[in-house]
């Protein structure tokens, strides 16, 4: 076959094609076991639904949590879950890298004409992961109807913006965590602590946590930019660390930086794998 000229664009095209094809094959494979697929999807949706039910139940006994009313907590919950849900749906399979290195099947991915990151991200693409996305979206929509805020165009725009940035930030954590597995093949739990664990943190207002914890998720692993900072600006609340108001708009920059950092880590890890073997 004829060579295509090298460069960035064809690689991007290969990545998208590879991702879409493999994700589609995964969905079809899952549908080979139809009953199991339906049960899994329902179970997933129910499990994430119970999640919020627990918070709602809490509010049956208290009027506010850390000074925040139910719609406000629901807003945090919805934006956080939606961001994590999207990242998990799209690139969550990256955590399987370690397993693939251990059983040697990463090599078969390296033989295909598509970037390994895209192939691996689609490796276990599962529609049942839509459960968290749908549930997060429902809670978010409900909360926006009950919040007492003035929906200026800026505030309206902030919701999709922070969702996308949040998904990118979580995606970067998935990627960096997977890259770490090039060296430590059983380190999937580390990134799970940051992604799923981080999300469990972000659904409550920062005021209920110790300042040191809030500091570390702001400055060390900046998950606070997923929803806390932009959401607090939207809700008209002060951020506990006394950061200036404009930091609420830093999410895109933080997302871009984390994405670039994760990409570097990934390249580095892949290079290490290809030069050491396993």
């Amino acid at each position: 076959m004829a060579d295509r000229p090298g460069g960035r664009l064809p690689v991007l095209r290969d990545a998208l094609t590879g991702y879409a094809l493999l994700a589609w094959m995964q969905v079809r494979s899952a549908l080979a076991y139809r009953t199991s697929f339906v049960l899994m999807a329902l179970g997933n949706f129910a499990a994430s639904g119970l999640d919020f039910a627990a918070i709602a139940l809490m509010f049956a006994h208290v009027r506010a949590l850390g000074g925040y009313a139910l719609p406000e907590v629901a807003f945090l919950y919805g934006t956080g879950s939606l961001a994590l849900g999207l990242a998990d749906l799209l690139v969550g399979s990256l955590e399987r890298l370690g397993a693939r290195i251990r059983d040697g099947t990463l090599d078969t991915l390296l033989l295909r004409p598509a970037p390994v990151w895209a192939q691996l991200a689609a490796d276990r693409f599962a529609l049942r992961r839509l459960g968290r996305v749908v549930q997060g979206l429902l809670v978010l929509v409900w909360s926006t109807g009950h919040l007492d805020v003035d929906w200026t165009p800026g505030r309206v725009l902030m919701v999709p913006l922070m969702t996308v940035c949040g998904a990118v930030i979580f995606g970067a954590v998935f990627t960096a965590g997977a890259a770490f597995q090039f060296w430590a093949q059983d380190a999937a739990e580390l990134q799970n602590a940051l992604t799923y664990g981080g999300n469990a943190l972000l659904r409550y207002p920062p005021t209920v946590f110790a300042r040191d914890l809030v500091r570390s998720v702001t400055f060390i692993v900046p998950l606070a930019f997923v929803n806390w900072l932009p959401a607090l600006w939207l809700l008209g609340r002060p951020y506990p660390l006394g950061l200036p108001g404009w930091t609420a708009f830093l999410s895109p920059a933080v997302a871009a930086l984390m994405g670039a950092g994760a990409a570097l880590a990934w390249r580095h890890g892949l290079r290490a794998y290809r030069s050491t073997g396993s």
Binding site: M25, A32, G104, D107, L110, L111, P113, G277
Partner: protein
């Protein structure tokens, strides 16, 4: 054809691969040391050749194959496949090579065989006409026609192997790498695969590099044999050359009229085995059997006879044994390939 069609398809010049292995030495201390899995390989494979690549486990076969496909980056030396540097141009190279790893399938377990081929078509962007022609040819020659609608998990090992072979050839690769292509297959499947590979090589001119433990594969398929041991090429030539290089012995099997003591006094031959009236005599591969037969017939009641060529397994074992002096220290084996 694209770049690099003038020179050899595969070119290695002093290619090395050094792994750093950490080993426990005491409770916490770890020592690092280097293992040369591939140690200065130099060879060329012209277009259209069919090469057998032999070596014991850990000799560096898989490591070489992984460098040729761009999975691993060489630690030194120069490596070109179809004019490309595999490690740097892995994605571009992927469209021009086909790889079958005998132990590992690329087919989709839960989907019909045809779906896996459709994925290959889209991922490699194979023009529809090329795809149809290649698929039709492979399915016919490999007898896959009735299996296209069957989920891969229901295929036998031999059927899956043939399925993988087809998947690796749909995009018209210039070179096909096979890692243990006949391992675990029954006799019929082995024969089908071998016939197919021979056809692929002679009719379509596809270059084939195969590693195998089944020496019948080599005997039936490869004009050229390369033997690697401890990362070095210890032999490169044809089968006859391998026999000569290894000082192989031919065996003369004689059936006598009755059980007799071991034949002796025949110059250039020695009796290695006696079983009733049948005796086995070994003699150097370079010698003719005729004088031996005459000498035996003159003194013994000879009923029947046959001459056996040394099998490659014995030859290769002999080569390794003689390379023993140059071997690195024991325990320095290359890491087992995944």
């Amino acid at each position: 054809m694209s770049a690099g069609s003038a020179g050899p398809l595969i070119e290695l010049d002093g290619v090395e691969k050094v792994f750093t292995v950490r080993r426990r030495a005491g409770r916490l201390r770890r020592t690092r040391h280097e293992v040369r899995a591939v140690d200065g390989l130099t060879f060329q494979v012209p277009r259209g050749e069919m090469v057998g690549y032999l070596g014991p486990n850990g000799a560096g076969k898989s490591t070489t194959l992984k460098m040729l496909t761009g999975i691993l980056v060489p630690s030194g030396g120069r490596l070109r496949v179809a004019g490309l540097d595999p490690a740097r141009d892995r994605l571009r190279l992927a469209r021009r090579i086909g790889v079958v790893l005998g132990q590992r399938t690329t087919l989709w377990w839960d989907l019909p065989l045809a779906d896996s081929y459709d994925l290959v078509r889209r991922m490699y962007r194979i023009p529809p006409a090329v795809f149809r022609a290649n698929l039709a040819r492979c399915t016919e020659l490999l007898g896959l026609g009735p299996l296209l609608d069957v989920p891969v998990r229901q295929l036998s090992l031999g059927q899956r192997m043939r399925g993988d072979l087809t998947a690796a050839l749909l995009h018209d690769p210039e070179v096909l790498y096979l890692d243990e292509p006949t391992i675990g297959l029954d006799v019929v499947s082995k024969a089908t695969v071998r016939t197919f590979l021979r056809e692929l090589n002679t009719e379509r001119g596809t270059t084939v590099v195969l590693t195998t433990h089944d020496l019948t594969d080599i005997e039936q398929l490869c004009r050229r044999v390369m033997v690697i041991d401890h990362g070095r090429l210890v032999f490169d030539g044809d089968l006859a050359g391998l026999r000569a290089a290894a000082d192989g012995e031919r065996t003369l099997v004689v059936d006598l009229a009755r059980q007799l003591p071991p034949i002796d006094g025949v110059p250039g031959a020695r009796t290695v085995r006696v079983e009733g009236p049948r005796q086995w005599l070994a003699f150097p591969a370079g010698h003719s059997a005729a004088p031996l037969v005459a000498a035996i017939a003159a003194r013994y009641p000879l009923v029947d006879l046959s001459v056996r060529e040394p099998d490659i397994e014995a030859l290769v074992a002999d080569l390794y044994a003689r390379g023993g002096a140059a071997r690195p220290q024991p325990g320095d084996e290359a890491p087992a390939s995944p």
